[in-house]
Symmetry: C4
Subunit: 510 residues, 4 copies
């Protein structure tokens, strides 16, 4: 049998032949009915070699599909490694182990709340947490290090309070605004998040449909599960999409991506600048461990699996050398507005204006990169007064993302001066739990909350929101309490109300 010529192959590979290539020295895997020789690719795999070796000689489709766009093998694996079709009837079906976690998950899915029981964005997350696969949940929900920034992102909004206006005519509320020239129905967009198929078999196109229905913009992620073109194809009418870009070391590839996006009608290019290296997310790592981990007590220091391997692999794709000097080149290769996504201090916003970009997203990558990076809303509160002082507030559009869960969060950002906000995980969770109807309801809930809260703060349109309507005095303090006085708390007898008397055993004494 001649494996070299995979173009003209007539005879299908047999499962038992593939099965022999089940180790680091010769590693074949089957994906979608075709076999591939990934032996040489093992050390370069961004997810590490272990996860591939688990499927060495076997069918990896089920694990592979959700986390790789369909054209991945085509693009990244040399044609000579494409071994051709496999006769799937000859592939041994793997007896799946009884997985009690999975059984419990199916139980929970059977009893999940109906969509109408979700009243706010957190509710979708609460449901998703219980119905998603543990590894998928871990990937979506995890953050950097101690996940302190992850949580701070939403928590920071709690430090901003309202100073509502009264007796304003709020009969008609107009939530619409303009982002990079596009009129949208409400000032949020669906921001880029990776690996949508982990949550829903259809992936990011579900978000495309939701965004269309509610007339908001979708930002297409570089690391989508769907291919870029699939997501574009899903667009209808004058629907608008933006592109989120991880810059490749090979600028030719980057250029090709940008030009393709522009050709396909993308209306904005968001260059990610907060991820020269993809973050460590320990919750995610731990969840994978139980899948991939070795099953022997291996504590030998030298056999330690270095995360650097994966980091270096990713470095071959994302360019850690990307710097300000590259910006003119980007401006030269596209007419799309260019925005920097992941700016984190006012000095860099000012520099971005000088560099000639049209906007910035104040963001810490959803708390997934640098722990103790400040929240977008806090950076916004630092940026806007300084821009106003310098007369630069209209030179650029400022967006934030991270931690937005309530319409009040959006209103706070707009009062401070943001053009709009990006929302990511909440729509992923809505999609993971309920599919398109979930995304639809999530967006509608935001609109309902937004309309009501605009009324209550005393603004009938977006342009009426201003800094006098919020109190941000608590925002800048990152406090932690003095550690607790354990012994002191232990001796204190908390007060109890009369409810004690409800207890039958107590009652007898009264």
């Amino acid at each position: 049998m001649n494996h070299d010529s995979n173009d003209t192959q007539a005879v299908k590979l047999k499962g038992e032949e593939v099965a022999q290539h089940n180790n680091r020295e010769s590693c074949w895997v089957i994906v979608d009915g075709r076999a591939y020789d990934v032996t040489e690719f093992l050390p370069e795999h961004p997810g590490g070699p272990k996860i591939i070796l688990k499927y060495a000689g076997k069918d990896a489709t089920e694990e592979y599909a959700p986390i790789h766009p369909p054209d991945t093998l085509e693009k990244y694996l040399d044609k000579s490694k494409h071994l051709g079709e496999v006769d799937m009837n000859t592939v041994e079906k793997e007896e799946k182990e009884e997985d009690p976690d999975e059984a419990e998950r199916q139980e929970r899915i059977a009893r999940m709340p109906i969509l109408e029981q979700c009243y706010n964005l957190m509710d979708f997350e609460a449901v998703a947490k219980r119905v998603m696969k543990k590894t998928a949940w871990a990937y979506y929900s995890s953050g950097a290090d101690d996940e302190i920034t992850l949580r701070e992102n939403h928590s920071a909004f709690h430090k901003i309070w309202f100073r509502p206006r009264i007796l304003v005519n709020v009969e008609k509320i107009d939530l619409s605004t303009t982002m990079l020239g596009t009129k949208v129905s409400i000032p949020f967009y669906v921001t880029a998040t990776a690996l949508g198929k982990l949550g829903n078999p259809e992936g990011e196109v579900v978000l495309t449909r939701g965004a269309r229905k509610h007339n908001v913009i979708q930002m297409i992620p570089t690391l989508a599960s769907c291919s870029f073109d699939e997501i574009c194809d899903e667009r209808e009418g004058d629907q608008v999409q933006w592109l989120q870009l991880y810059v490749n070391k090979d600028r030719a590839i980057t250029k090709r991506i940008i030009e393709h996006a522009e050709k396909r009608g993308c209306k904005g290019l968001f260059i990610t600048v907060d991820a020269p290296q993809l973050g460590r997310r320990e919750k995610d790592m731990r969840s994978k461990f139980s899948d991939v981990g070795s099953n022997v007590q291996n504590t030998g220091g030298d056999n330690v699996d270095r995360s650097q391997g994966a980091a270096r692999a990713i470095s071959s794709f994302i360019d850690p050398a990307l710097c300000w000097e590259d910006i003119p080149w980007f401006l030269s290769v596209t007419k799309m507005p260019i925005l920097l996504k992941g700016v984190q201090r006012v000095e860099d916003v000012i520099r971005a204006i000088s560099a000639g970009v049209q906007g910035v997203v104040l963001s810490n990558h959803g708390g997934r990169q640098l722990d103790f990076a400040r929240s977008g809303i806090e950076v916004l509160a630092e940026v806007m007064p300084e821009l106003r002082r310098l007369g630069l507030e209209n030179k650029i559009e400022i967006y934030i993302d991270g931690g937005i869960r309530r319409a009040t969060d959006i209103i706070k950002a707009l009062c401070l001066g943001a053009t709009g906000v990006g929302i990511g995980r909440p729509f992923l969770y809505a999609m993971s739990a309920y599919g398109l109807p979930g995304v639809d309801r999530a967006m509608q809930l935001l609109k309902d909350e937004m309309e009501m809260n605009m009324r209550l703060i005393g603004a009938s349109s977006i342009d009426q929101l201003d800094p006098s309507m919020i109190d941000t005095r608590g925002l800048s303090m990152h406090t932690t309490s003095v550690p607790s006085d354990t012994l002191g708390l232990d001796v204190y007898d908390p007060l109890v109300g009369p409810s004690g008397s409800f207890r039958p055993e107590t009652r007898s004494k009264l």
Copy 2:
């Protein structure tokens, strides 16, 4: 049988006839022995159509009575829809399902603490929480969004501390003061709260009696369960009442209400300005869901029940267009002092003075409208120094409400410069748990606390309270802690005292 002529009807309707109109196309309900055709009214019902449809063709009295004033159908349902009396013997008695929650509640009621076991206002709430119907409790206790303002309202008082005077003669304590010209025994009034019959079958008149006994003012709510006249009728002697007003789009109706109130002797008109749209209270919504929710797994995006329907329905009653320009008209139609209830920033207090009203209530509607609205006491601390700076502090009476639970809370407000404070939920809870005796004891406890704390702060009368007697340095900061360091806390072994030795299993080792 002629249903058109309900005036001269002699023959009563039969239950089985009513029972046929049990759907959206033709929906009749029975209330207090009379049938009504509410088919056309369904989409306009402020509480949504579902709850009515639950009783389509049936007797709805038990559900209807506590939450609608007796004259509601008379006022709001066209006469042509009044179908006349029903022969109640022919109406099929509904077998009530065994409700384990209700059985447990009856258990708790049987064992409830005696009134003397309530030592403070929180105690009534603790009892009410356990003896009230779940939906009634949810309605009273719920707040907007994440209920952060709801809780902040009381919590804010904890940031204000005392600087008591010593060696002041406090033998005789005079708690009396004057509100809008009325001498009262203590500086609080019973503020307006809706749907009193949810807590007590007699409704708001119980509060009227309690207020009379303690010589405090009652503010009559627009959305009372009792009719306005019933509450007025309950007044005795020189007892004083005020009116809380939701302004109707139809100013003729509003004018009629105001004129009627003035005629019936109301001494103050409090126009609610913080509720152009009634707030979403998710706890309340969830509690109703289990009553009304559909019993199939309906996750279709297009069938989603929009809360907008209810919102719009309510908009037909409360005018979201109410604005400053309307104030002169109010001043022209009544001689009652006019106050704005729900003011939330100093700019609007100053504008209120210019507009010629006699007072404001700094309030966020008990945390039921805009989450992250600041507490009344915090706004007061912002307002008073600015008014004093402008020499306006005597131009207007300033009240606050929200979160008052202790006499010390009242004293803090008075030290800052409030004329008095409104108290709502605590009296509702006292009434719900113990009826009039509960309201009586709640008020007496406040008086006892007040007298003692006036002594302890070193003031023998209300006018001796001044800003030097409080320390408000902590008030303005809205802080949240840096999110917890989960792993760090997990590895810390808290200190334990010697109490461990009490454990028998430990003892053997010593």
Copy 3:
């Protein structure tokens, strides 16, 4: 039988005769083998009539003794009501109910930790909490209202941090200092606390012995369980005592007490100025309720037991009219140094200096009077800089009490400028749990901590402590967090370390 002449009585009263006077109309009680007619005294009893009526016609000794000095009846009940001796053999022994709480307490006493297991003052409290009678514990440990000041008193010390000096010769540490002219071994004194016999049958004399052993001053409380003379008699050698004074409305009584104290050698007179009315302590009230509470469901509004009764009764003893104008009189009737105990703001410290007193105690009465009164240490931090600014810092001795549990707390107060600190409850708890050895060890532990911490902060004697050695920037803020985001916290999955793997069920998967 002639009860009128109790002087010459020869025949003893019979139990059954006493037993007939068992009601409000005629109420006799037996104490220490003698009967008393307390019918007329009932409404004046500071603790309310109920508790007496419980023992009407019976022997009340066991309940009475711990909470009344031996000479109380002699002093306060008119001789005509002393009915003479009772033949105790004829008094029916009361069958004690089985009290499961008491049985459990005895169990705990049998297993209590040995004294050597107490390593700090909190440890005694932890033990006392478990071995004391519930009502006694409630009396000692309770505070005003929500007990926020009670807890703040110790918590405030946590906001003060050290700036230690290094490379100071601390070989020899001298902890001694001088208070009102008396040399003491360490800068604390045993402050006045009421009802010592609740914790130990011998009462306050145990503290006298402990204070003698460690050469510290004891302040004798007005409301001691032992009589004043018993406590004085216990003094030895040049041991020094002070007197804490509640001022009686009848200044003749007050004068007699002062003169007697001076004659008996007291070296300081501390006039309590923070208790014109004794505070409500709900924990204490609740604990008594289960003893005294009525056993029927009485919710009638008019039968409510007013706490005012007790308050008025106490007013007949403590003078709420006491004021600055009284101070010259006090100065005129004694040569003892006079100090005001319970001063709470700098203005009053300055006034105290003008009034000519020798000192003040910055105190909030152990958190038992006005909730939200600030801690003594916080007031001290307000007072001292202002006194220094005015050049008054040496005109007066400043003490604080409240919440001191560690030698570091004492050092913080001294750094700020206090002459010394009063410690109350911790010694009560040590005495209640372990008697004199407990008090002894508690004082010794404080000395050990003090010596070590003086070394560590870099001071070899008390006078080397100064404000530069502490950081008080956090002290003045009374913050509370923004209320928690319940839904947000609920959806967050806290990080877990590898410890999960220890669980057997998890291990099987690895």
Copy 4:
């Protein structure tokens, strides 16, 4: 048998003879097969006499070895007390009690996570906590008093947040820096910690090997379990070690130690200045109690075991009189750079510069000495701006230690201006749980985190870190919340999401 002449002894001692000396009057113990008469040494033992008496007449090797360097008896016990070899066959083997704690610990060890499951430094601590002997864990993990400083040390880092730079070329990250002239691979060193053999039978030499592998400096502790020479001998190549020094009262001994260290090649002398007396650590004391504690209920006040005994014993070794005047002498006896370890305020840093030392370590001794001492990182934030103001920032090298657990912690210290940081406990825990491979992985994890976080903050080398990259506004506040409003919290019904519906019992109602 002649015990006097232990030099020429031929006949071994018999176990039964040793066994007779089993009391305070005559106390012999066996260590490593040799007997010693420690009767006179008992009162001087730093750990107190009790622990020795437990082994009186017995073989103490197992308890003795981990906590004493091998040459201790040689050095500190007079030769006349060395009784010579024991015939170990004649020594009665002690039946070990069944220890359920120990059995459980062995269970946990059998199931411990594999090394690869440790993803950060806290993970090693979590494992060590479960696999170490309780007393060893207590010794390592305990801190002073309420352990508030212990926890604050790490917690303080949480108040510092990042202001990352974007678009910086971070392809190549250089973590190397120079400490006291030594080039190291990453800016941390292994700081001195006592009693390494409690965690690992080999003791501190394991850390020597780990430090060598990762090219970082090890600071040798005075109180090591290994002898100083053993640790030096373990050094290889150009590996660098420093010496931590407790100064002995006898300066001749101190001089000998310094000269020996210099001769053995130590490159830095760190004089501990924060421990004139070793701290009380109650957790440690309690853990020892269960070993050593008397087994009778001894509550006699006079028999109380004074901690002063141990304190005084230690004073004979560490000199509490050490002061600034001694510094010139140290400078005169060595050419090694001298640093002061344990400086805690800027005044003393400035004085250290004047005194001519080369550096300071801002440290509170890992929270083991003075509770409420501030964290090193906070002191650093106080020190550096003042040094810069005075132009002194380059006159001295500043290190900090305490609470460092993440690379972000290191970066924060470097941004503020530290030359490097010391890390102690984390490596002890890694060693205790996994030996050298644990130490290796711990260091590697720090390097991985460091490289990534340098990229994410936008710095490619250590010298690019500057104060503009952090936000320290929250650092200086030591806040505690107002004590909780127990009754208020009790009546609040927390919001719950739709997850309730997952519960089967609830589902039936929907």
